[in-house]
Every structure is written in C-alpha cells, then in structure tokens.
Point group: C2
Chain length 138, copies 2
C-alpha cells in the first residue's frame, strides 16, 4: 500500500484513503471496469467521489478511458511511464460481446497511421469487438 501511495504522489495526486482504494480496485481487476463497477465494489463510497477520482486519475495519466462500443466508459490503469501530458501506452482493446468483458491487449500496440494534413492528434481509441478466447472455446 505504501507503494501505491508513492505512485499517486509521483503523479501529483493526493493519496487519500478513497483514492488508494480506487487504485487498489483498478489494479486487482485484470479487465477494464466502469464507474458503476467500481461503485459496486466500494459500497461505502459516494458515486460522485468515485466519478471525480477517476476524472483526476485520467487527467494525471493514471488511468485511460476506453470506449468499447457499449456506450459505457471503462477504465484501466496506465503504464507507469504515462503522465498528465501524454498517454504513451497505446494499445488495442478488446470487447467480448459474449462475456461483455473489456480487456487491454497491452502486447498489441496501435499501428502507426497517417491522418490528413493539418489535423492534430491528441487521443487514439482502437477497439476491436467480437468473441474472446475464453468464450470462443466454451
């Protein structure tokens, strides 16, 4: 826990009890999770607090949001080397339509692309949906 505290500190986020818990939950879930998921795993906390906690985490490069096509934003921890200025950990995301789990395919990075002259890239979201290995075998 001491460790998490210093991670938050390094990213300029006050390590409050609530935030440590949210971080904990995010690190324990191997999948990307929604605000509601966090809320369900932390019954004591108010939804607004969680909402703002995630917002802060996002702004400071601690988590990245994932639009998986369900309309519900999911979140997952960023790599240690991400920061407020830039999310450097750009990888594919996969959403399974059967088990509804959304996972980071951290081993699969987003390919280099070109966009039209004059456009500025700030964020990239590359999500593949279909059936995951687990559900495909079942």
């Amino acid at each position: 826990m001491k460790e998490v505290e210093s991670i938050l500190h390094d990213k300029n986020v006050r390590p409050t009890a609530m935030r440590l818990l949210v971080y904990q939950i995010l690190s324990e879930n191997k999948n990307a999770i929604s605000l509601t998921d966090i809320e369900n795993q932390l019954k004591t906390a108010d939804r607004t607090t969680l909402y703002r906690t995630i917002k802060t985490f996002e702004e400071q490069g601690i988590v990245h949001p994932i639009e998986d096509g369900t309309g519900i934003t999911k979140y997952a921890l960023c790599a240690a080397y991400c920061n407020a200025d830039k999310h450097k950990d750009l990888h594919l995301h996969f959403h399974c339509k059967v088990c509804e789990e959304t996972t980071c395919l951290t081993e699969y990075s987003i390919p280099q692309i070109s966009i039209p002259e004059g456009y500025i890239t700030e964020d990239i979201n590359f999500t593949v949906s279909g059936v995951c290995k687990k559900c495909n075998q079942g």
Copy 2:
C-alpha cells in the same frame, strides 16, 4: 428519391416515408450525426421511430455507428458494398474537440492488425480525436 428507395429495398428494408427522410438527412450531412441531431432536423418524427430506424439501418449495413469518445453515438452512411453480414468499409474516424464534429476519413483505411490467437473479430472502431484542419487554422 426513387434511387434511395431501391437502395433500401436492396438491403431488405421497407422504404417507408420516414426511412427515406432519415436516409436523406444522413446523406446530406457530410459529418457523422447523432440520434438527437436527426431528431432536430426532423421535428415531425418521434424519437422512438428514429431510434428504431437507425437500429434497422445499422443491422442491415446501411449506417455504421461511431464511438467518438463523447459518449454519444454518431452515425454515418456505409459504403454501397456493405451489408447486414459485414461492414466492409473500414476507415478511420476523426473527432474534433473544438468544433465537436465527427467525420469519416474514408480515404484512410484501418491498418491490418493481428489479435491474439483464439479471438474472433466482429467490429473495429478506430477513432482519432484532436483538432481538425478547419479549427487548427482558425
């Protein structure tokens, strides 16, 4: 208009007056638009009807949904050769954070990618957000 009618017919969608109007609106907008946008441009129609019309269009490969990071799903017409089974017109999408417009970059196709063994790909969403040319120059 006769033309649109046959397009719908070819995709197994009954060409009702309402649907022709929705198609018309989609084809007149060069950007991807939301359900609410359509609703505003067609005051006479009930939102539910538009909702189900878009749903039908989506299922039959007439429009494709775009998750641009705003949490509001946008829609744009598919290429003629898309159908209910497969959306073959896979291109990048760009969302401008300044003017909030979401556009299809039909000239920029989604690069070939590999996903883990055992996974099945059904849909792909590749959206870049930032600042578009128009806003960058302004």
